[in-house]
Symmetry: C2
Subunit: 698 residues, 2 copies
């Protein structure tokens, strides 16, 4: 990557910025200040197209003592406040990376990035691409051939171009075209994905010009036909007005009459959440969305930083131009900037708090986003139970969870991303994939083995969703290790004469690299602190990782897809910590070449035993569409959990108060009449001393 | 298995029994009637020890037309009402199997079962074994050597003996002994599992005599020492009085002000549940607990019968007597008889209905069990969502689920077993393992690779939990097939020049057998009806199976454990349907030899392609105890899901009404003040026409 350094101009002025904490996201003043400083190194009429204006997180070596001071109430050491900026000179390919130091008002670094390094998209740009594509004379001429009905409305979804090494050095977008319902073209929310068109313009983004118009194969093979008149197809709508809605669903409300159990302490734009012995700081940025810092349980440190690092969605159709459809939704667009506004009562149920964010627009101005994260409790069923069969006395507690949730819309797809905490020291990251499949046209009577017909004329191609969760542990200290346990059957011997014995053995991982799950051995990865021992059984304190299995990226190892999605070939990567190594697919994913992500860092073969390590947990699904996934798919749910192992001295949820009717206020539903009894009717007797009320008979 | 047939006595009288449906569980009259008929073939003073008195389900060939008549409102054909009975002549080993025909008042079959075929335990027997063990003079003498403090109370947990082929033809129980807290011996609910003793009496159950007193190895090897004075150990209590309970958990109530959305139509002791287009009949019996019959969605048939078939829990310690610890909790004891009474407000949250059951005691008398199944709805987060980024309009629905839940206590362990239904045609079976680890004594300073020390002096040995769910499909008809899909990368070629293409191919399973998952190929099993095609894409209607991976049984293939747990070596078994093949581990599991379960049936290599098939889905965990699992473990959750694939013509949850604040009534929690706003404050604006209220900004 060649760079061209522009000397930094002298500071214009030093402004005192108002961040409350070194890890707090940039506030509006800081965004504006950083943008101004960047502009100040250029001639004054230069139109700067800002792509990223985000906190440049301080070095961990500075943050650790800062957090120690914070937790022990000492004065906070000084840490320079820095901003990471990506920008173009507007309407050119001159792409830059800058570091702005707000504390001393300087631009510390300002380099032009070289060939094949491109920026993410941004909202205004996506709209401009769509407009340019549809205004292009060549595209209009091609659309003419479709002989669309009067008043038909064509929609263009710009897609990242992908990479295949074929004349792809320029920054381009591949637009996929769709039709709004021809019988209802004024319905702005018509599901155009159910009416895909066989024409796909390609634009270069420096000049917003259509450089090529691809025609899409619509049969079973590579054949591209001349654009023919469009054959009428019915639309397939998801909006509620188009449905015969169910009328028999009764309301279900979640009430917390005494309020919620969590507290939120705001420090500027970051928030410290405390709940049931958990404490952590929530941040937010354009690329990762929610980030958790300084996660502790009962004031024992667990994680330095937790975030979704990226996701890759490669598609299975080998034909041009689909062969290069491979999205990196964080690096190519940004989870934070694509977050939904979670208005009360729709997305989150119960007693809800919301967090707002401030990001930046393409002019470097602050761009406020409200309600991007919702926080609430939920009941997750029974937490633990035991009944003594001799006495019939049951001890039972419910599992209350804390949920921090955001929802991102990436054109057609939605992802619901949540961190969840329970009362037994367990932390879970949950992803729900929903929204609309990416579609392309297919001729009638054609079936292909790389996709599913989900509507007349509509093919949904198979694709993989591969997520990478970046886990920067701080398990009772900065030096941790990654180990795995395996269970092995013992051979027959005098020691094991009946062939039933088995043992569990632990292997320590010494060197950075990629590692896989192996259920045939019950391989479980754990993050440990070997220097801190459980007081009862002497084992190192640890947290184990429960992640679901997934088929690794199917693109072959010589492919651009594989080289770019450096995380997608392993269940686990572990690297030695280095500042700035945040994104598993590399810093710049758009039309990337690979070589700058987690696989490359792991190839350093650094020592990771009793070191400052980072663990990257991959998980995902191979999405083979079924017709039930259209026109919008029911959520597909994936969870990664972190559970304590010999970290505590007993079940950490033992002190949760017993589950009792006086607290829970359940209601007996009378079968015959089907309406709820008034509160109190049909209740179990609660003992005078608040005894656990359940008994069992055997 | 040799049998001795006893000729059936002539009918004493014909009583008209009152069952409403051929699949309804036996009612009290029928249990009494069947028991009387069995007694009637013996001399009148014969003391019959009843072990099982349960519905002998009619042949499927009779039930299918019966259900068709039921669903089309025609008169129901006659089906003889039969009862399956197991019994001993009390205090002998003479174990019998009988079939009683209540419709004509005859005993149709009455055979004595041969060697190595033994009955399950029963509640009164377990208590008698415990008493006999503790009253035995030899046991008392051995306990004397412990020199326990004054007033100490010893508890005995009888365990199934297991099988190892070493002098194990008699029916025996292995008692594990524990101590109640010596400083609080009057606490009846003291956690004796935290104070295990090194003495283990073995009893034969025909005469309730101690035949052997095993001493347990407590070191790292096979060494058995003389019983030494007991060294004081602290107890580890789970009851709430012993905890410093949290005081900061605020109540969370689930309200359904208009009642629940499900209806329950009782027919005698069975119940027809209808909810959100689902309909099914719930039965209940001693061995399986809850059974679902005739499961339909929108009146399209899906499953003939669904039930937990058995579970096997083999332990890892190779030393005597632990090598033979391998429990079959359904066959050895019975899920139905061990179910908890789910009193309102403790186990299930919200608007709850309960189902009761009637089983039989060891005298053949009806034994009513109340509240064994709870039924309620729950909110499971967002069902689906899409936001049109151009307009900001979101369409979102919540996922409401119906839950049928029971909880069983098997001595120390609990299992929470639930069937869950959602609004997108998905059915899930969920198991939560909780309760108390099985423990044994260990010397200080000793570590072993087959267990974890969870408390001073307490070893919890590794063990596997392997469950088998019996799935008898009826997907749009009785003839179904089991197939699997795999995703394969395409090789490089002109067709796939960039190495990114992949295809999904389906393989049909022709012959019965065991089959495994393979995530490297994304192998997904589906139950299909090849004769019924999706109207849009022509694919056969199907339901796919999502089951988590698990390490197969580690006991080697020559071991008794392996031979007995016939289901535990494969993710999937598929067999051709035969009446009576219900239990994957065989009809009689207690001290069994194997050869009578699903592996043996599958070995027939019957045709299963477009046949009446049964699919057995195995799942489980290798439980490597951590200290957080003691003194009671936080629930470990396992789920198996069945999802429609090309069964519908679009997302079946599309017609769920939009998620709106007027329906959900969420409440904004004010961060600064931490109490809930009164209803209405902070609400999002809901459009006049009840429009979906959410918008998002990009």
């Amino acid at each position: 990557m060649s760079t061209e350094v522009i000397s930094s101009a002298p500071a214009i002025r030093t402004v005192k910025y108002t961040a409350k904490h070194a890890l707090e996201p940039l506030n509006a003043e800081e965004i504006t200040g950083a943008a101004n400083l960047v502009k100040s190194v250029w001639p004054s009429q230069t139109d700067i197209h800002f792509k990223v204006v985000t906190l440049h997180e301080p070095p961990k070596a500075d943050v650790i003592p800062y957090l120690e001071a914070e937790h022990s109430g000492r004065p906070l050491p000084f840490i320079a406040r820095k901003v990471f900026v990506n920008y173009y000179i507007r309407n050119t390919n001159r792409f830059h990376e800058a570091i702005v130091n707000l504390s001393n008002g300087t631009v510390e670094r300002n380099v032009r990035l070289g060939a094949n390094v491109h920026a993410n998209g941004d909202g205004d740009e996506i709209v401009a691409i769509e407009n340019a594509a549809l205004a292009d004379e060549g595209v209009k001429a091609e659309l003419q051939k479709l002989q669309l009905p009067e008043g038909a409305v064509v929609i263009s979804d710009p897609w990242i171009y992908g990479a295949d090494g074929v004349d792809d050095d320029n920054r381009m977008y591949q637009c996929f075209l769709y039709l709004r319902d021809t019988q209802n073209p004024n319905e702005l929310d018509s599901n155009h994905y159910s009416l895909p068109l066989p024409i796909s313009p390609v634009l270069t983004t420096d000049n917003m010009r259509v450089i090529r118009i691809d025609r899409l194969p619509t049969g079973a093979d590579n054949t591209i036909t001349e654009t023919k008149p469009w054959q009428f197809r019915p639309v397939n709508e998801y909006i509620p007005e188009a449905q015969q809605l169910r009328t028999d669903l009764k309301p279900l409300n979640v009430l917390q009459p005494e309020g919620a159990s969590f507290t939120i302490k705001s420090q500027g734009l970051s928030n410290i959440i405390e709940w049931q012995k958990w404490s952590f700081r929530v941040g937010y940025n354009q690329r990762e969305g929610m980030v958790l810092y300084d996660v502790r349980y009962d004031n024992r440190s667990l994680f330095y930083r937790l975030s979704l690092s990226d996701m890759n969605i490669p598609y299975a159709d080998p034909r041009h131009p689909f062969h290069k459809k491979s999205a990196f939704d964080l690096g190519d667009a940004g989870a934070g900037i694509m977050a939904n506004n979670l208005k009360l009562g729709c997305d989150c149920l119960g007693s809800i708090s919301y967090l707002d964010a401030v990001l930046a627009n393409d002019k470097g101005e602050p761009f406020p986003m409200e309600n991007v994260v919702c926080i609430h409790e939920q009941d997750a069923g029974i937490g633990w139970k035991h009944t003594n069969y001799r006495t019939g006395r049951a001890a039972v507690v419910r599992n209350r969870e804390l949920v921090l949730q955001m929802i991102i819309t990436v054109s057609n797809y939605e992802y619901i991303l949540a961190f969840m905490f329970d009362q037994a020291g367990q932390l879970t990251y949950e992803v729900r994939a929903t929204g609309i499949l990416s579609t392309q046209p297919i001729d009638d009577g054609v079936d292909v083995p790389f996709g599913t017909r989900v509507h007349p004329g509509v093919l949904a191609v198979h694709h993989q969703h591969i997520f990478s969760l970046r886990v920067d542990p701080f398990l009772e200290g900065v030096n941790n290790r990654l180990v795995y346990d395996e269970a092995h059957a013992l051979p027959r011997s005098d020691w094991n004469p009946h062939g039933t014995g088995y043992e569990v053995h632990e292997t320590v991982i010494d060197k950075s690299g990629g590692y896989d799950a192996d259920w045939s051995k019950n391989r479980i990865f754990k993050i440990q602190n070997a220097a801190v021992r459980n007081p009862i059984n002497g084992k190192p304190v640890a947290y184990k990782i429960h992640a679901p299995p997934f088929q690794k990226i199917l693109s072959d190892s010589d492919s651009f897809n594989y080289k770019r999605a450096e995380f997608a070939d392993r269940n686990i990567y572990v690297t030695q910590y280095r500042d700035g190594e945040l994104y598993a697919g590399g810093q710049y994913t758009n039309q990337s070449r690979g070589g700058t992500g987690v696989r490359s860092w792991a190839d350093r073969r650094d020592n990771v035993r009793d070191e400052d390590i980072v663990v990257w947990v991959q998980f995902g699904i191979n999405h083979v569409p079924r017709i039930e996934d259209f026109p919008v798919m029911p959520c597909e749910i994936l969870k990664v959990s972190f559970k304590p192992v010999n970290f505590f001295d007993k079940n950490p949820a033992l002190d949760v108060p017993p589950s009792e009717q006086s607290f829970n206020k359940s209601v007996l539903v009378n079968n015959a009449q089907q309406h709820a009894q008034p509160d109190g009717a049909g209740e179990a007797k609660v003992g005078e001393n608040g005894q656990v009320c359940c008994s069992s008979k055997l």
